[in-house]
Symmetry: C2
Subunit: 218 residues, 2 copies
DNA sequence: CGCAATATTGACCCGCGTCAATTGTCGTGG
DNA sequence: CCACGACAATTGACGCGGGTCAATATTGCG
């Protein structure tokens, strides 16, 4: 069933762990416990963030409480810049997560890198549209697992930081359907579930072919 | 039904109409007939584009031919920049369309504006995800009409440049469902169809409330 | 006017959402 | 170590929204 969603209270979190990092501009390293809000819809956009360890979900809500996760951010990935001055989405740590926080103003000046990041963000969102828009449940889950594997450097064993609910809200499905799709992939021996949140990709080719992405012309 | 899709041949078009424009860097004004390909998947990314008049659809294909429109670009809007060096999507003129073409290299240098445009593109894609992911057919069509109206400056009479098929592929529906949704909005007297492609918004409030977007906190 | 392309409408059916029950996982305390 | 409770995930039964297929209507163009 659709889960009606309430973001956990409070969007300002006390740094539990502060350190310096290697990029220019003022920045901090902050550790968020799982479920903590990094920023909320309506917060002003004045920082950007890079994940050191852990994972982040970024999502929007519609008025009846349905949630749509628009992206997951894994270790090494950057997020938090938006066109408007107020955030349109929520960002939360999925599990305990260490994050570098940059002040946005000093970053803004030398923007070629920031531009590249924005373009990557847009590409991800558009690819996601193809998946959500035109693929069935099993294909969506397959695409999700492939994407995660690719972003982690092509590993065959995935440890999922997020719950089935998070995956469902990302793929615009329900937990039940995600679960059934997982079971089907398992029965087809495309994947194996070593543990509920630990997936072994047994047949990467079969998984990839389920993703239906058009072959790029040379 | 799902339409299986073949992009019209040829991705290089002879300029039918060339002129100078007001931005820095080498650029041309080109007129594309309806259906002409501006760039195709796999083409190298070396220009960016601004619509003078007309409209453009940008879309992806999956291997079985299903199409997903990821965005429409209207007069005044800019498109064509991507993270990779090869285009991931196709862009086509919907009807006869006049476009300013910028060489990308000279643009690249002073990128703050380009960054802003990329951020707008990302925001659009993410908002679109919310619609596709979590709203039913009538709501999607309502959101589509509202969005178009807003981008045209809040007009109440819309002339749709795109076909039902384009709308369907944008909203991840079928033409039949788009048609039924239009009929329902018409029967509820939320809109009126002056002509198949000319929509009058009779009850803007009703239309907006169908879009279910969470109210932004102040 | 006639033909082709586009849009609408209707009947049917299937994938996925809904609701409900069951199983599995993990943390805490005896 | 097991008992217990809370939560997460799985599985089953069923219904509905929207896809499929087909017929009809409308629009645009020569």
């Amino acid at each position: 069933m659709y889960a009606t969603f309430k973001p956990a209270a409070q969007s300002v979190v006390m740094p539990e762990n502060v350190a310096r990092a290697q990029f220019p501009g003022a920045h901090l390293v902050v550790t968020y416990k799982g479920g903590r809000v990094i920023y909320a819809e309506g917060d002003s956009v004045d920082k950007c963030y890079q994940v050191c360890a852990g994972a982040v979900r970024e999502y929007g809500l519609i008025s009846d409480g349905r949630r749509q996760v628009v992206s997951f951010h894994l270790a090494g990935e950057t997020f938090g810049f938006e066109a408007a001055s107020k955030h349109r989405f929520f960002a939360e740590a999925i599990a305990e997560t260490r994050i570098i926080v940059f002040a946005r103003r000093p970053i803004q000046e030398h923007s070629p890198e920031l531009l590249a990041l924005a373009l990557v963000g847009m590409k991800r969102a558009q690819e996601h549209l193809l998946v959500i828009g035109r693929q069935c449940a099993v294909e969506r889950v397959a695409a999700f697992l492939m994407d995660l594997s690719d972003r982690l450097g092509g590993v065959r064993q995935l440890r999922l930081p997020m719950s089935r609910q998070d995956i469902a809200d990302y793929l615009a499905l329900t937990i039940e359907t995600v679960s059934r799709a997982m079971t089907e992939l398992k029965e087809r021996k495309v994947i194996a579930l070593r543990h509920v949140r630990t997936v072994d990709i047994i047949k990467p080719d079969a998984l990839r072919s389920l993703c239906h992405r058009a072959a790029l012309r040379s």
